[in-house]
């Protein structure tokens, strides 16, 4: 009896993908049910098979990917896996709506959002003009001229609302949301999740939410499945799983995220034995390593006569030797612009930057010896490494540029310091995982023995367990080398974990700066309070 009531019943779903190295089992024996009106979360890290299982069910595995799908997936009484493409197409957009991760990429850039929604309505056989209603439903109705706008004229949150409107166009009984808030800022994320929850309740539709973020899952899901290597390792009510996780993996997944409540020296990691903790040397230095005074950065506006965009509107702060300063802010708040102007990648429009007492020239012609003392690690370890160089060449390169004598022993030493070894010397970046690549960029930065290390969102492209490993590594290195850190991130727990002091940025200004505990426990500005409250919810 219960079987017939389930909206979706998936039984032993397997997805095998033909990769260059052979057949890879992306999803192995996955079974679950979704009842009408409930929200189920699929949780897991990259490669756990959570997105792949959803694409397999809806027949959306990319053209050109050779996948073998077996199992059963009964949706409203019919097996999805036995359907032809034509039958599936009739189902998609009508019975099953989908929302994807990055709304900026998920909308056609050449079509107005009104037309994109109208197209979905038409495909689902809905009436003309229904897109206006849908825009109201996703709370965009009040934005003037919204349906005539193009995707690039909307904010990330608005774009995701449009995606949701598209997904709702056919009044589906199941909404699949694949990492719907991953590309969005914290405050926007909260609003989108609230909207999804309200829509789900009002329309009494079921929802599957795919996420790597336990915070998101906790907020929205009734039940959750934890996936690892294509298998379900834990299934249960969200609150039950999150309060009393039964498996070691779920516990580890929860623990490897830094929290605001307790401060641990090291984060637990998955499967990798933790090296002994190196106690951080107490910092007694009062020497100001970096002093920034009234720094302003503007970028030329888009358009011939457009006004310049003021990214940084006059900020001042200092970093003492051996200290870790966190710069916290949402995308567009100006945090990267500060970092870039320190290393001379952008030219400040006003203000001064002093490093070790010396005034840095305001042109992009930074002295080489100064450059050597300040190193920069970027967000995306995939784009930051030349794909044609081996690790040995990659680590050697900065030393070559700065005329630092190096031999194989020094390079192996550096690789070992970041948790790689001599066996990696001849590897190419594409043979490495994201975490390993970020280790290489850290080794490159360390090769020049810098005094100040600027880390610009260095873990936001990584999975949580890998994040924990990289953060641990960085903490060890900082302690061992008594490095000064400038740690830029939008992620409050990560900044809280890494830093002694935190500066909160909003709209190109530092609105609050102080010791870590003060900022996190007693934020003085409304903005910081809101941010932290959102996290504690």
């Amino acid at each position: 009896m219960t079987e017939s009531m389930s909206l979706l019943r998936v039984e032993s779903l397997r997805v095998a993908i033909q990769a260059q190295t052979g057949l890879v089992e992306a999803v192995a024996d996955l079974s679950f049910t979704v009842e009408p009106g409930e929200t189920l979360a699929l949780v897991g890290e990259t490669g756990s098979g959570k997105s792949m299982s959803m694409l397999a069910l809806t027949g959306l595995i990319p053209v050109g990917v050779a996948a073998t799908i077996t199992g059963r997936a009964m949706f409203e009484g019919r097996d999805l896996l036995c359907m032809s493409e034509t039958q599936l197409r009739a189902l998609r957009g009508r019975r099953i709506g989908m929302v994807f991760q990055d709304p900026a990429q998920a909308l056609n850039p050449l079509m107005t959002v009104g037309r994109q929604i109208a197209e979905a309505v038409a495909a689902a056989g809905g009436p003309k003009g229904r897109e206006i209603q849908l825009l109201d439903e996703v709370e965009l109705g009040a934005v003037p001229g919204i349906s005539r706008r193009y995707p690039h004229q909307l904010s990330g949150g608005q774009q995701q609302r449009v995606m949701i409107a598209i997904a709702l166009a056919g009044d589906p009984s199941l909404l699949i949301a694949d990492e719907p808030t991953t590309a969005l800022d914290v405050a926007v994320e909260a609003r989108i999740l609230d909207l999804l929850a309200r829509l789900k309740a009002r329309r009494s539709m079921a929802m599957i939410i795919v996420s790597h973020d336990l915070g998101v899952v906790k907020r929205i899901a009734d039940r959750m499945i934890v996936l690892r290597n294509g298998r379900a390792v834990e299934v249960g009510d969200t609150t039950a799983v999150l309060t009393t996780p039964k498996t070691a993996y779920t516990r580890a997944l929860m623990a490897c995220r830094p929290t605001l409540a307790d401060s641990v020296a090291r984060l637990p990691t998955l499967g990798v034995p933790s090296p002994p903790i190196i106690e951080k040397r107490a910092i007694q230095s009062s020497r100001v390593l970096l002093g920034i005074h009234d720094l302003q950065v503007s970028y030329p506006g888009v358009g011939t006569l457009a006004k310049p965009v003021r990214a940084v509107k006059g900020v001042s702060f200092e970093i003492r030797e051996g200290e870790a300063l966190g710069i916290l802010g949402e995308s567009g708040s100006g945090k990267s612009s500060i970092a870039r102007s320190i290393v001379g990648l952008v030219r400040p429009s006003a203000g001064e930057i002093r490093f070790d007492g010396a005034l840095l020239p305001d042109t992009a012609r930074l002295d080489r010896s100064l450059r050597r003392r300040i190193q920069y690690i970027f967000q995306d370890p995939f784009g930051a490494l030349n794909p044609r160089l081996t690790l040995a060449q990659l680590v050697h390169e900065p030393m070559l540029i700065h005329g630092v004598p190096a031999n194989e022993t020094t390079i192996i030493g550096l690789l070992e310091e970041v948790g790689l070894n001599a066996g990696h010397l001849s590897r190419l970046p594409r043979e490495l995982s994201g975490g390993q690549r970020q280790r290489v960029t850290i080794a490159r930065a360390l090769a020049l023995e810098p005094e100040l290390l600027i880390c610009d969102e260095i873990v936001s492209a990584l999975d949580v367990s890998v994040q924990a490993q990289v953060l641990n590594l960085l903490k060890d290195i900082q302690a061992r080398r008594s490095l000064t850190l400038m740690f830029i991130s939008h992620d409050i727990p990560v900044v809280g974990h890494m830093c002694d002091r935190i500066a909160v940025m909003q709209d190109g200004l530092i609105i609050e700066i102080g010791a870590r505990d003060c900022i996190i426990q007693q934020p003085t500005t409304a903005y910081s309070r809101e941010m932290i409250a959102l996290l504690k919810r």
Binding site: L60, L107, P109, A167, T304
Partner: protein, 309 residues
């Protein structure tokens, strides 16, 4: 909206200015490069008509060829600025008249080839995308490889030998359909090559997954989502395609013995007919510049992201 339009017109003004600068460059280069070729029109006439050195010297003085290059350039610049392109040195007829007489023939050939090229070059990749397991895929690939590997003049000569000389199906001189088809396929191949690559790239974009998730038909996905996005890239190459049409038309005219700009230019170069050669090169150059300008402006209107820049 007003700000948007002002943005566009400012952008266009910049494009026009840049195009003008290139046109001036072409005028200068054409003039001086041409004079660096050894021999002048009097040498050629002299060889044909056995003129005495004295007669030759008189003729040079009469034509102004004894003046310095700089002086000749300024004189000529003054003339073309007033719309006077001068008389042909060989035929003593205004060059505009000579060109005007054959222009229509070249345009007919160029437009026929361009029509075939656009229809096949866009049509085949679109059909190949809609029906990925059909013969259209093979055809689209075939014309691409054909246009890269086989030069039009060799196909042209082969066509003349086979269809005109052996089979007698087409006239050996002045035929339109054969050169138009050969050039058309060549152009179709180069359009198809670019368009197919762009379409494949767009195919893997996230918004195509969105389109599939909406439940749209394959035809609708290709025509409404993949093609327009791929065309914004292809559109930037319209200038290149246009210059291929022009140079291709010239080759075809010579191979098929059709009167036109190509045959006229060849005669003019052989006869060192400076005014005629200069005028042809400048006109063709300006035509290519205009094609590029139109492509740039069209791109501004097609892509809303560029439109706002």
């Amino acid at each position: 909206m007003m700000a948007q339009l002002r943005g566009i017109s400012l952008g266009i003004a910049a494009e026009v200015l840049r195009s003008f600068a290139i046109a001036v460059g072409i005028v200068v280069l054409t003039f001086f490069l041409l004079r660096m070729i050894p021999g002048d029109v009097v040498d050629v006439i002299g060889l044909e008509g056995a003129l005495t050195y004295e007669q030759q010297a008189n003729l040079r003085a009469e034509m102004g060829l004894t003046r310095s290059w700089g002086e000749q350039f300024w004189l000529w610049l003054g003339m073309i600025a007033g719309g006077d392109f001068g008389l042909s040195s060989r035929f003593a007829i205004p060059v505009t008249q000579l060109i005007g007489a054959v222009l229509g023939s070249t345009i007919t050939l160029g437009l026929s080839a361009l029509t075939i090229g656009i229809c096949l070059g866009i049509g085949l990749p679109v059909l190949a995308a809609i029906y990925p397991r059909s013969a259209f895929v093979w055809l689209a690939e075939a014309i691409t490889i054909w246009s890269i590997t086989v030069p039009t003049f060799s196909t042209g000569i082969a066509a003349v030998v086979v269809f005109a000389v052996w089979l007698g199906m087409i006239p050996a001189i002045g035929n339109l359909s054969a050169p138009a088809l050969i050039l058309g396929i060549d152009i179709a191949g180069s359009i198809a090559k670019i368009l197919r690559e762009d379409m494949k790239e767009i195919e893997s974009a996230d918004f195509i997954r969105t389109a599939r998730a909406k439940g749209l038909s394959r035809t609708r996905i290709v025509l409404a989502h993949i093609l327009p996005n791929a065309m914004t890239v292809t559109l930037a190459l319209v200038g290149l395609i246009f210059s291929n049409v022009l140079t291709g038309a010239i080759t075809m005219e010579i191979v098929f013995g059709r009167p036109g700009i190509g045959t006229l230019a060849l005669q003019a170069i052989k006869g060192r007919d400076y005014p005629l050669v200069q005028t042809i090169i400048i006109w063709l150059g300006i035509a290519v510049i205009i094609a590029n300008l139109v492509a740039d402006i069209a791109q501004r209107f097609v892509d809303p992201r560029i439109r706002l820049r």
